[in-house]
Each structure stands twice: as C-alpha cells, then as structure tokens.
C-alpha cells in the first residue's frame, strides 16, 4: 500500500555496497550513543536466557519524523515527533514472544523480557490447544559484533532551521502560484532520522543511523465555470538523502517547477482517452509503483506461504513455482537489495542482525528468488536469510518487509525517446497517482500524473481520464523493450503498509523506461458511469 517517482537522469548502480560495510561521513548521534543501550540489552537478554529462551533479541529505536505543510504558500500544519523505546523478542518453547517498554532502567528492561517470555508461553498454550507441532526456528547468521553503519547523506535535515524549510517551500509555491492557470498549490516535506541499536543472544550488536526526505508539490487548476479541476504533482521521488536533495543534489527542482504549469494547462484542455488496447511506454516515475505492487509484494515469501493471508494477502508466485514460474518476458531481470546507495530500504543490518545483501528475484523472466527473514528462511530450507526483517517502531515486532526491488536496465538499451519511436499508436505514462492490486497480486489498476498520446513514434499531446489495468504475468510478459541505464531512476515511497498491527516502511524501486505491448486502457469517466 503506497505513493511516488521521475523521468530523467538520476542513475543508480544497485550493485554498489558490500555486506555490512560501513558507509559515509557521518557518525552516530552522540545523544543516541549516550543512552544506556548495552546495559539495557544485557539486562533484557540475561533475563530472557534465565527464563529459558532459546533465542532473544533486544532492539532500541529512536525515530524522529517531521513534516512541514504549506497551502498556497502559507503554513498549514507541521509536526515533529520522536518515538523512542525498546523491544525484546524471544523464542521460548518454540513460540514467539514480544514485548516493548520505555523505562530506561535495568529492572524495567528485565521486566519487559519477562513479559515477552510470558507472551511466548501464552502462544504455546494456544498452539498446543490447536494440536499443532509447529516450532519457531531461525536460520543461522554469522555473528556481527560491534558493527556501526550510517546511510549516505550530506546534511541532516533536522539540523536545518524550520524557517529555512518553510521559506523554501513558500518560494517554490510562489513560483507555481504566479503561473497562469494555477489556482492552488499544496507543498510539503517529510523528513526522518532513524537510529537503531540491536543485540541478540548470539552476540551480534549493531548500531545504525538512517536519514530520508520526501518533498512534494502539487499544483491545482480549477475552472469554476465548468466545475472541472485537475492537478499535477512533482515527480521527485523520496530518497535516502539529506537536505541537500532540496538544494540541487539528486534532483533538478528549478526545471521541474518551471515545467509544471504548462503541463497542467495542457492537461486541463486534453481530450478524454478512448478506451481500448494500447502500447505503453511507461516512465520510471510510474513503473516503480507497478514493480512495487506486482513484484515487490508478490515475492515476499511470508506472503506466498500465507502468513499475511487475512490482511495484506497472499501471492500467485507460490513457493512451488520457484525456478519455474514464467513471470514475464526474457528481458525481465529483477533484484532485491538492501544495499543501493540512497535506497529507502537500504541498511547495514536488518532487525534480526542479518547483514544487507543483494540477490536475484526474477532472472530472464523466471522467478528465481524471494525476500526472506530468518524464520521463513529456516522454514523453507534456505541456508540464510537475505535480511528483510524490519520493524517501524520499538513497539512493533519485526516482520518480513520489502527490500529495494528493482528492474534492471538493458546495458546498451534505448533511450525513452527511442522507445517511444518504436510505437505506432500508444501512450507514454509519466508519474504515479492511483494504484490498487488484488490480494494475490494478479489484477492491478494504475493511473498517472500525465499521459501522452503516441502517434507514429512521436508524442502528440496529453490525454485525460486514463487508467491501465492488467494481470501481472500478462503485463510483464508483454514487456518488449527495456530502456538503457540512461533512463534508470530510483523511485519509491515512505508509506508501504503491511502486517497487523499495521507497520509502515520506506522502500525504493529502481527501473528504466520500458515498452509494453497491447495493454488495456480504461476511460475513468466512463467507469464512473458518466
């Protein structure tokens, strides 16, 4: 469940980064290191051991997230929240137990460990009552002692005065509002600074720090006489960078803001699409979300095994299909990784102490891998987890969450213009907007920020009321060409939802532009019965 992404020129090498390697110029915040992290961990793990836990892990988190919102250039809401606390998770009697707390005393940490063991005992009773013999076991992981990892950013956004943030958004809003045809502008920037300390009974201890930002602006046009309105949002994706992302590193804001008013005006005048089958050239700013929904979630093995069956759903890519399922055309190569520089799911070590890795999910169009955590890896015979455990707060249990799942560019592949040049009658899709997919990841429907008619290899103006609808394997099977590295962009979102209690994770998806043949296009006005 999600949001956003752009066409253009931000290229990322997803192979970069090695297991557990510390990156970058920043050090872990002293205010985090000053907390009694190791003492609390020792107290909790010792109590868990004493109570007979087969495994225990301790995680201290401090997550600060802030947002600034402007409406027509004026402050319309802000927030600055810090969630801090710790969690103890145990395997006891073959069952999971989890508890969290906030009191920073050794007694309290030990008490929380006791609560986790109590929850495991409660679980064991229910499991026994059901006549099940299922036991929780974890795939082994090398011990990573005293590891430190910091994400790649230049300027901590929390070191930038709020007045500077508000001022920049107000100035950008003013540029859009000054343009003819722009009635309203919504602007916002979300920033996150995340610290995690992890320790387990095997001896792994990791301390990590991540920073991410998500700026966005939406211009709205209203024709009061006709009652028509529409909007156009920036395509700049959320990224694992700092405030430098808003001041010229990684995105060309001036160019994008200058283009939006004319594009919005053209969209307001654009004809309604004629429903039917079209060839699509899908820009990375739109395709990342299709990858997220139809590949990212479908290759989560916990989902494929049914652990999310009552909520997020299952997957058509069932475990028995590993190595057999024809996912898409032979041009389709998809990786999972937790190592891409500036990736939103990039980490040094996951929330089970597993080092970040990169691996194949789809190779030459065939399903060859899954996203794993330690329990699921052990259950299904994998030798090792690929490091996809994540919890979004100290009060939530780690679950298997999405890695950066990315479609590889063709090494000598075409430009977006060249892809468009190969289409006689089609549509070029740019930017994400609406999205929905079924509980087994078959049937999806997406809209976008703008749709351009393609006639005889050239763009011929925008269309309105467009949605594309397909079945996952049909869609990826229709992928006839993949763009080159020059078209590759790392898109993503802050707000991928999964699990119960609900958790939110940030994730990136890199992809090139790509050409799909004969995809079903709906007219959304007709769908509304108008």
């Amino acid at each position: 469940m999600i949001h956003f992404g752009k066409a253009g020129d931000v290229s990322v090498d997803v192979s970069r980064g090695r297991e557990g390697e510390a990156s970058v110029p920043h050090e872990i915040d002293q205010s985090f290191l000053a907390l009694p992290l190791r003492a609390l961990a020792d107290a909790a793990l010792a109590r868990a051991r004493a109570l007979g836990a087969e495994h225990a892990d301790f995680r201290f988190e401090r997550v600060r997230d802030a947002s600034v919102r402007l409406r027509d250039g004026k402050p319309s809401g802000s927030s600055d929240s810090t969630d801090a606390g710790y969690a103890v998770r145990v395997v006891h009697g073959g069952a999971w137990g989890f508890a969290s707390g906030v009191d920073l005393t050794m007694d309290a940490a030990a008490r929380v460990a006791g609560q986790a063991v109590a929850m495991a005992k409660l679980s064991a009773k229910v499991i026994a009552a059901a006549g099940s013999d299922e036991r929780v076991e974890l795939a082994p992981e090398p011990v990573h002692a005293d590891r430190v990892w910091v994400s790649a950013y230049d300027i901590d956004p929390f070191g930038v005065p709020d007045a500077e943030k508000t001022g920049l958004l107000a100035e950008w809003s003013g540029r859009l509002l000054a343009a003819k045809g722009v009635s309203h502008v919504d602007a916002s920037v979300m920033t996150v600074h995340e610290n995690k300390f992890y320790a387990d009974t095997a001896g792994t201890t990791t301390t990590q720090q991540r920073v991410r930002v998500h700026p966005q602006l939406t211009a709205v046009a209203v024709d009061e006489s006709s009652g028509e309105f529409d909007s156009m949002r920036t395509l700049a994706p959320p990224v694992g960078r700092g405030w430098e992302y808003l001041t010229g590193t990684g995105w060309d804001w001036d160019t994008e803001l200058a283009e939006i008013p004319a594009l919005l005006a053209e969209k307001m005048r654009a004809p309604s699409v004629e429903a039917g089958a079209y060839d699509l050239v899908v820009d990375p700013s739109n395709l990342w979300l299709t990858i997220h929904e139809s590949i990212g979630h479908a290759t989560e093995l916990d989902r494929a095994l049914g652990y999310e069956a009552a909520y997020a759903g299952t997957s058509f890519a069932t475990f028995d299909q590993l190595g057999k399922l024809k996912y898409g055309s032979e041009l389709m190569n998809v990786t999972g990784d937790r190592t891409a520089e500036h990736g939103l799911a990039t980490i040094g070590y996951d929330d089970e102490g597993v080092a970040g890795q990169s691996w194949d999910l789809v190779k030459d169009g065939t399903l060859v891998g899954y996203q794993l955590d330690r329990r699921i890896a052990k259950l299904t015979g994998f030798e090792r987890s690929n490091g996809c455990a994540y919890a979004d707060s100290p009060s939530h249990v780690p679950v298997q969450r999405m890695a950066n799942v990315s479609l590889a560019a063709a090494p000598d592949g075409p430009s977006t213009d060249e892809l468009i040049g190969g289409v006689e009658r089609g549509i070029y899709v740019v930017g994400d907007r609406s999205w929905s997919i079924d509980m087994q990841r078959y049937n999806f429907q997406f809209t976008g920020q703008r749709f351009f008619r393609i006639e005889n290899g050239r763009l011929a103006g925008q269309l309105r009321d467009v949605a594309y609808q397909a079945t996952t394997t049909d869609f990826w099977g229709s992928m006839e060409a993949v763009g080159g590295p020059q078209t590759y962009v790392l898109g993503g979102a802050f707000n991928c939802g999964k699990a119960q209690p609900g958790q939110v994770a940030a994730v990136s998806h890199g992809c090139p532009s790509a050409l799909f043949r004969s995809v079903n296009i709906l007219n959304t006005t007709q769908e509304a019965g108008r």
Binding site: A129, G131, V222, S231, A309, A310, I437, D438, N443, N520
Partner: protein, 464 residues
C-alpha cells in the same frame, strides 16, 4: 535519563507551567495495546505494549499573525520536559503565521477524572478469548479448514490541558477481531470481522462456524464476466465506501472547487439531495457502544483539523439527513472561510435509512444478484467524481431466486460512493460493523446492507 514516573496530569500541568509562549496546548496520550495474530490454525506473532506520547503545541503572537509549533515525544522523562516545551516554542517562532490561527478554546468544564490514573489493557483482555480461539483452531483443523486472523485491543487515555484553563480527559478503548477461513487447498476463502470495546462480546467459535457455512456455499463455483450486476453490499463494504467519502468531505477543499462536493460555479453542494432514499449519515460521540471523544484532539493541523481547536466540544452531527447533504468537515478557521457551520471530524460514523430487514432477508428477496463479503485495496481514481477502485474479497456469492447458489470469482470494481447514494434502491437495518479496509484507522461504525441495481464490476480478478 530517568524513569517515566510522573502521572499524566502532573506532566501536563508541569509543561504548562514551563511554557513561555503566548498560548500552549499539552496533550498526554497514555497507550497500552495487546494483540494476537494467527495463520494456518497457529499463532504467529503477538505482543503487549505500553507507551506515553507528549505533544506540546505552542502559539506565538506576532505582527503578521499567530504562529504554532508542534513537537511530540514518546517516553518523555522529567528532565526532557523543559527541552520539549522549548522546542515547541522555537518551532512556533520559526514557522511564520499559521493560517488556521484562532484564539485557544476556553470555558469548557474540566473532566472529573483528569487527575486519575490512566486506563490500560494487557494480555488479560484475551483471558477468555485465547482458549476459545485455540478451540476454534482445533475445530477448523478437524473440518479441513485453515484459520487466519488478528485480535487487537488498545486503550488510550488522553489528557489535554491548555493555557486557557481546559483540563480534559478521554479514555478510548478500541478492539478489532478479524477472522479469515480458507479451504485446505486455499481456493475458497471467507471473512468475518467485529469491533469491540473489551473482547467480552466476541466469540471466535461462533464467527468460525459462520465462515464454515460460507466455505460450504463456495463448493459450487460459478465463473461470471465483468459487467454491471445487482449487488448486495454488506455493512462492512458500505462502511468502507462511505468512510472514504467522509474523509473526502473537507469543506475548504470543496469550497476551493477541488472535490466531488464542489458546486459548479462556486461554493459547495451542501443542501443538495444526494439520495432519493431517506438516508442519514451521522456522527455522535455519545452513541452507545461506539463512544468517542466529546472534544477535539488534534495533534497537528490538516485539511480538516486545527491544533487551535483542541478541546472544542464535539457533538452529534448529521452529515446527510434524509438524503440531503447537511454538513462538510470544518475547523473554526475553515468554517469562517466557507461560511459553513463548525463541524469537526467525528470519532464514529453511522448510516441509517430506516431499513428493518437483515442481510439474509435482503438475500431472500433477490431474484438474481451478487452478495459480497467485503472490499479491499480501495483507492481514489478520480477526485472529481470520487471514483474509487478496489477488489471484492473473501467471498462473492451468486444469489438466485432468494438463495445463495454458489461462489463467483472476484472482481475489480470502479464506483463512486456519491454516485451509489443516488442509485441505491434499498438499505437493510443498521448494525455495528468492522470496516475491513480502513479498520487500522477507523473502527467505530454502524451501517446497513445496501442493494445497488448496477454495481460496476470492471474486470475479473483471479485472486482468492
């Protein structure tokens, strides 16, 4: 750092004392939760949590207007309190005039229990439920079925104090139970859910028995193509559609011409008839079993909320009465902008159309149509019409001559709830329901089943 020991009201009072701002709002939220999750007739994850979040809202007057700064921290200790208050003041000074600025609310009588300890939940809330769940697992295993689901209970005690003298408290228990049954081969699936305040009124065995019946209905499979069908939407599905409509009902957005509730030529559609049926959509914080906060609790400002309105009394409001749109969501600020009455967001939502018949009675009176179980992955396609897309899930049944005759494939739908209000031909009796799609955010709902003569099933989904 020290231990979190102070009582919530003492922290609120101390934060107010420390404040040097022109105005201050302090909100202390004491949360406790307990949950159980299961899959394939076995518990998977579980947990208990306990936490405190303190939110300080500082307002600072200036020549250009009043600014606000909002800072929240979990697990605040005594020595972190003053830095938190100063951070909120600094944020206000940095922010520039807030466009939603209003005088802070005053004159609301204090809550009698303001100085009392917070309410809380624990794993004990499942003391009777957990063994019953284990028995349901055993029965399902014996019957060749697999149970999946989630039970969640939370209690939040909110203490709100302001520099204008408000001292208010609200305790909010919330509970949800979701139960999903599947056949061993996973080709048939059924779902039931319930909202509860304390888990004393939910019986997993009874819900599981109902699901077993639905799985039995699905033993006969009927493939149907996309198209428009007479459809019976159960209360959960109706709630999900109309909750989204309510979230899209901000008066300011409508007034600015950018929602389905905008009027051509300017203004809003308040006063317009949306349904020929006598439908009333309302919120009431005193609704028995669905009680919610009787005053505004706003941790940040947004399109339909304002931190300046904290503590403002929330009463019963009819959003739609007898099919006519009566109110849109307003803050005091947006009420002034739009000329509409102040109508803060409610903590519950109810739809009543005077129907007396149960869903089973609606089925018995159906010649040929589809009976849905629930909807999923609902997303907005077009704000102009409020066109929504999503999926049917966990049971679409064919009704012929008043009886369920088999299970149908799932569909993707494209429909607008506003349009549905104009096309609905019958509603059943209103009952408490769990909105499946939005239950992470909204659980207090009472809705009737709804008969729509031409529901748009846009395409077939192979998903189960």
């Amino acid at each position: 750092m020290s231990i979190v020991t102070s009582k919530p009201y003492e922290i609120v009072e101390r934060a107010l004392e420390l404040s040097r701002a022109d105005g201050t709002v302090v909100i202390a939220d004491e949360d406790s939760t307990a949950n159980l999750r299961w899959a394939g007739n076995a518990l998977t994850t579980n947990g208990v949590t306990r936490g405190r979040t303190l939110t300080v809202i500082a307002t600072v007057n200036g020549a250009q207007g009043t600014a606000s700064g909002v800072v929240s921290r979990s697990a605040v200790t005594d020595d972190e309190l003053e830095p938190l208050v100063r951070a909120a003041e600094a944020a206000a000074r940095d922010a520039g005039p807030a466009e939603d600025a209003q005088p802070l609310v005053s004159g609301v009588p204090a809550s009698a229990d303001f100085t009392d300890a917070p309410a809380e939940t624990s794993s004990e809330v499942f003391a009777a439920f957990a063994p019953a769940l284990g028995e349901a697992f055993a029965a399902a295993r014996a019957g060749g079925r697999r149970l999946y689901g989630f039970a969640y209970h939370s209690v939040t005690s909110t203490y709100l104090g302001t520099s204008t003298g408000l001292r208010l408290r609200h305790d909010q228990p919330s509970g949800t139970l979701e139960l999903n049954a599947k056949s061993e081969d996973l080709t048939r699936s059924a779902w039931a859910g319930a909202g509860t305040r304390d888990f004393k009124d939910v019986d997993p065995g009874e819900l599981a028995d109902g699901l077993a019946q639905r799985l039995a209905w699905a033993e006969r499979r009927v493939e149907l193509p996309a198209g428009r069908y007479e459809t019976l939407l159960p209360p959960s599905a109706v709630a999900d559609l109309l909750i989204y409509q309510q979230w899209s009902a901000a008066a300011r957005d409508a007034h600015e011409g950018r929602t389905v509730f905008s009027k051509q030529g300017g203004g809003t559609r308040v006063g317009e008839k949306l349904s020929e049926l006598p439908l009333t959509l309302r919120s009431d914080p005193a609704e028995p079993g669905l009680e919610s906060a009787p005053f505004v609790i706003a941790h940040s400002s947004g399109d339909a909320s304002s931190v300046f309105d904290n503590g403002l009394p929330v009463g019963a409001v009819d959003w739609m009465r007898d099919g006519v749109l009566q109110r849109l969501l307003t803050t005091r600020h947006s009420a002034g902008l739009t000329g509409l009455p102040v109508a803060p967001t409610g903590g519950n939502l109810l739809l009543d159309g005077g129907g007396k018949r149960s869903l089973e009675e609606l089925v018995a009176d159906t010649e040929r149509g589809l009976l849905l179980t629930c909807l999923w992955y609902i997303r907005e396609v077009d704000p102009a019409t409020l066109l929504l897309t999503g999926l049917t899930r966990d049971g679409v049944f064919l009704v012929e001559n008043g009886e369920v005759t088999g299970a149908v494939n799932n569909f993707r739908f494209n429909e607008s709830p506003v349009d549905l209000l104009g096309r609905v031909t019958e509603v059943g009796r209103t009952e408490r329901t769990l909105p499946r799609e939005w239950s992470d955010w909204f659980t207090r709902a009472a809705f009737p089943a709804m008969r729509v003569p031409d529901f748009n099933m846009s395409s077939v989904s192979k998903g189960v």
